[in-house]
């Protein structure tokens, strides 16, 4: 089926998310939409899928103008979507998820589960997936959940399949598998729209590339274009893809994690007996696919987990069993993985956010009273130092862009005397410019002798920053390897395979 988007415009208040975007996807073509986070790719796809209504422009399928008032219409017309955040219900089985919305029924509205199971089996056989229709989706690994999403779309006879940032949650090997599936789908005549900001993937599968920047189509490119060409089109200027990083000047081991285990409320060992150390002036990156215990590891260090066994010591002082306050006072700086949830109070001003963890005494509080003058002076200084683009220190954090929000968090954490910096997903959802800034700051912290723990699911980030890399899989550490370890080795480790040759570094 041929898909054409003609002059699509979508505004949110004053913000123009999509500005007269036109794209043509030919039948049996893999068409990549390349753009940075926030360029308007997802908005465009939500318009296509009927989740948003376009303010201007039209959608054509096989040259016929379509009118979608909801996702139901889009699906009926043959558009399927594999969402970035899976639209699956974890407590439902695979079959239930697949049939939801077009359930086969027998007499009296009764679900025909047998038929739904059959359909799941039939489609999974076609693509060589090994899927149990009665497994609960919440128990399946993410890579498999994504297949359920694909089957869900195919079970509705989708002729155009949209993949919205599908590789964000996958290991490199799973990504390769997904590429094969895409090619397989293309063979059967399905048109594919592939949304991503990762250059490597684009060049591997795309037949055609459309680059979007700031809500506008900035041009088309062929898959043979170089990474640098694509990146500069995407960002609008020439950029450095790697950051300058000198050799690490290692000091004494500062953070020592010894046989650490964390148990969650239902008794699962989410962190399972892990040990590592970080020396002064060293960046250790924890790599791994989301949900393999990284979050809990960080929370354990910060004193946010209650059922912790084993040892965590910082410069000889134990951090286990300490309150968050005591951990912060021990000199630990923390960049949380979800800045909107844990990093900032979005209804507070920039200034207030900058003193969030220092409300217990001087210099910002004296005799139980806020020292607003001191705070204002401090905030102004940080605004300039960290290049936070805002109208002023009174701007609410919630009104800042993701990059500026993260700078506020960094400014707060780095302006204390640090003995350890813990940065979880420090650049998630940021534009390339902010990523550069954040990385530079982290490396600066390292060079000033602070041990740094970076947790990231982005392999690019891990490779760019790490002096050593610890790969986590299902709660354990698969191995700790040097920072220059090839990506395919890291990829295998992220899938649980121990590196050959034992533990290096």
């Amino acid at each position: 089926m041929k898909l054409e988007l003609r002059g699509i415009t979508k505004r949110f208040g004053a913000l123009v998310a999509n500005d007269h975007i036109s794209v043509v996807v030919e039948p049996g073509e893999i068409h990549c939409l390349l753009g940075e986070n926030g360029a308007g790719k997802s908005t465009l796809m939500n318009v296509l899928y009927g989740l948003y209504q376009a303010d201007e422009g039209e959608i054509l399928l096989d040259d016929k103008v379509q009118k979608f008032s909801g996702p139901g219409d889009a699906m009926a017309a043959g558009i399927g979507m594999v969402h970035q955040h899976f639209m699956l219900i974890p407590v439902f089985t695979v079959a239930e998820n697949v049939m939801l919305g077009h359930e086969p029924t027998t007499f009296g509205d009764r679900l025909n589960v047998a038929k739904a199971r059959e359909q799941v089996r039939e489609i999974s056989q076609r693509f060589g997936f090994d899927l149990d229709p009665d497994a609960l989706v919440g128990d399946l690994p993410v890579g498999v959940q994504q297949r359920v999403e694909i089957i869900k779309a195919l079970s509705r006879d989708a002729k155009v399949l949209v993949f919205d940032e599908p590789t964000a949650v996958l290991t490199p090997q799973e990504t390769d598998e997904l590429m094969l599936i895409m090619k397989q789908l293309k063979e059967t005549g399905t048109s594919i729209v592939f949304i991503t900001h990762k250059l490597r993937e684009v060049r591997e599968v795309a037949d055609k590339i459309t680059v979007i920047r700031l809500g506008k189509v900035v041009g088309e490119a062929s898959p043979t274009a170089s990474n640098e060409e694509l990146a500069s089109m995407m960002v609008g200027r020439a950029i450095e893809l790697t950051i300058e990083k000198g050799k690490a000047k290692l000091g004494q081991p500062a953070l020592v994690v010894d046989k650490l285990s964390v148990i969650d409320p239902i008794g699962q060992l989410v962190v399972n007996n892990i040990s590592f150390d970080i020396k002064e002036g060293e960046i250790v990156a924890v790599a791994g696919v989301q949900g393999n215990g990284q979050t809990e590891l960080v929370e354990a260090i910060m004193g946010l987990q209650s059922k912790v066994t084993g040892g965590i010591t910082l410069n000889g002082r134990s951090l286990v069993g300490r309150s968050v306050r005591e951990v912060l006072d021990a000199g630990v700086g923390f960049v949380p993985e979800d800045r909107n949830e844990d990093g900032l109070v979005s209804e507070f001003t920039i200034a207030e956010n900058l003193m969030l963890d220092r409300s217990n005494g001087e210099p910002f509080v004296k005799h139980g009273t806020l020292q607003l003058a001191t705070l204002a002076e401090f905030a102004e200084e940080k605004l300039t130092e960290f290049d936070i683009r805002a109208q002023g220190i009174g701007t609410h954090a919630g009104n800042l862009s993701g990059g500026n929000q993260q700078k506020v968090v960094l400014a707060r954490e780095l302006s204390r005397e640090l003995k350890l910096l813990v940065a979880a997903q420090p650049t998630r959802g940021l534009d390339v410019g902010s990523v550069e800034f954040v990385h530079t700051r982290i490396v600066e912290a390292r060079d000033s002798g602070v041990p740094v723990l970076v947790v990231s699911t982005e392999l690019d980030e891990v490779v760019a920053l790490a002096d050593r890399i610890a790969v986590m899989y299902r709660g354990g550490i698969v191995g700790i390897v040097p920072g220059d370890t090839p990506r395919d080795v890291l990829g295998l480790m992220m899938a649980g395979e121990a590196p050959s040759g034992g533990k290096a570094a």
Binding site: G70, M75, L100, G101, E103, T105, R110, G128, I263, L269
Partner: protein
């Protein structure tokens, strides 16, 4: 070649350790201790009598007479053994099974009844019949809560829906002379209360708990006002509804103990069986149920497959209101026979507790409703035979049971993921 890197489709199983939970054993030990003190140390001399049959049964079970003191001791010892066993299980990092808790509760109850019935007679069928009667509005309320919360809207307004149902059914049944008309009117009244909840919670995204509480106060005030200003002036015409008679189902009704308890009831109770079975079936076996649960678990996922989330929520909440209103009619048409101010007396909140205790499952919620009804009736039966425990303590019993139940003494309970969260489409 690529198959080797396929992610396994097997569910992720992390290694598990059992988190030792001392909550259960501690509670059981306290009750076992209480049993020793009550049944043993403060033993009451005499013989306890239990009547097991009513006159209409197929065959008469003989009256059960047991010596109070020795029975009390035996049961107390059994309780201690059970409690010790649970402590041992936790020591060995095993879970205390649910049946152990249930057996414990039954033995404790038997011991307690034996103790209070020293030289007195407890009519077991009467106790149970009353328990079912009292639990009818709770169970209807709980079904209302299950449907509403499974679709993602917290229904605090059950109390208001019950009260509206009770009031309107009394008035309409009195005026028309037909209890059936009263029933229908009760459903309409419950639905209207729900419309208000649904409109504010879903359309205007007001906090669902606040809307619910306000509606309860509103209905209470409105019915109270109308009762004292209008109904009391002309009670003959407005507040003497004809009541439903008990219908004795042949054969089933003559089975000893359970016959008169379950099958010699008013038509509202028979409707209740149908509603509970119907909700349980519909929720887990039909398309309606699948979509309802989807909307309550992950509304966005439901939306992306073309289910109209807010519309579905709206009608489900309305249906829930109709069911609660129907249950409210039981107060006036089934048991009391006339409306009095605030006659629901917190039944809606107990129903809400039954929903949570029943883990949002219709059958379990019904069992919870029965338990709460039993606790309430136990208090009144013991009041009649002259209990050694002060009646004020007995009055607290149903609420104490509720608190213990909701505090999660009986396993973890998980609400639908999107329960109470409005779905806002951008």
């Amino acid at each position: 070649m690529s198959t080797s890197t396929l992610p396994s489709a097997a569910p992720i199983t992390l290694e598990r350790t059992i988190v030792k939970s001392w909550k259960g054993p501690i509670a059981l030990s306290i009750f076992a201790l209480l049993a020793i003190v009550l049944f043993g140390v403060f033993a009451r001399p005499g013989v306890s009598h239990f009547r097991l049959s009513t006159t209409g049964d197929f065959f008469q079970l003989p009256q059960l007479d047991v010596p109070t003191t020795s029975t009390g001791w035996i049961l107390a010892v059994i309780l201690v053994i059970l409690a010790a066993w649970s402590v041992l299980m936790v020591f060995q990092s095993r879970r205390v099974p649910l049946w152990l808790t249930i057996v414990f509760a039954i033995v404790f109850m038997a011991g307690f009844l034996t103790w209070v019935a020293a030289d007195a007679l407890i009519p077991i069928p009467g106790l149970l019949i009353g328990a079912v009667s009292l639990s009818v509005p709770l169970i209807f309320g709980a079904m209302s809560g299950v449907i509403s919360e499974r679709s993602g809207v917290i229904n605090i307004a059950i109390e208001g829906q019950l009260l509206a149902g009770a009031f309107v059914s009394a008035v309409v049944a009195s005026m028309t002379g037909s209890p059936w008309a009263g029933l229908v009117a009760a459903m309409v009244a419950g639905t209207l209360v729900s419309f208000a909840l649904a409109a504010f919670a879903i359309k205007y995204i007001v906090d669902q708990i606040i809307v619910g509480v306000v509606l309860n106060v509103l209905v209470s005030g409105l019915t109270g006002f109308l009762f004292s200003q209008v109904l009391t002036n002309n009670p003959k015409f407005l507040n003497t509804p004809p009541r439903f008679d008990r219908i004795d189902i042949p054969v089933l009704g003559q089975i000893p103990i359970i016959g008169p308890v379950l099958f010699d009831q008013t038509v509202i109770v028979y409707f209740m069986y149908i509603v509970v079975a119907g909700v349980a079936y519909a929720l887990f076996r039909t398309r309606w149920g699948l979509r309802t649960r989807a909307v309550g678990e992950h509304p966005q996922a439901a939306d992306t497959v073309g289910i109209k989330v807010n519309l579905r929520r709206f009608w489900n909440v309305s249906l829930a209101g109709a069911i609660a209103g129907f249950g409210g009619a039981y107060f006036t048409l089934g048991s009391v026979g006339s409306f009095t101010k605030d006659m629901t007396a917190g039944a809606g909140f107990i129903a809400l507790a039954a929903v949570i205790f029943g883990r949002w499952d219709p059958i379990r919620a019904m069992l919870a409703g029965l338990l709460f009804g039993f606790a309430t009736n136990l208090q009144s039966v013991l009041g009649i035979i002259g209990s050694p425990v002060p009646s004020q303590f007995m009055l607290m019993l149903p609420y104490i049971v509720t608190i213990f139940a909701v505090a999660g003494l009986v396993g973890q309970s998980r609400a639908p993921a999107a329960d109470g969260k409005p779905y806002i489409k951008s």
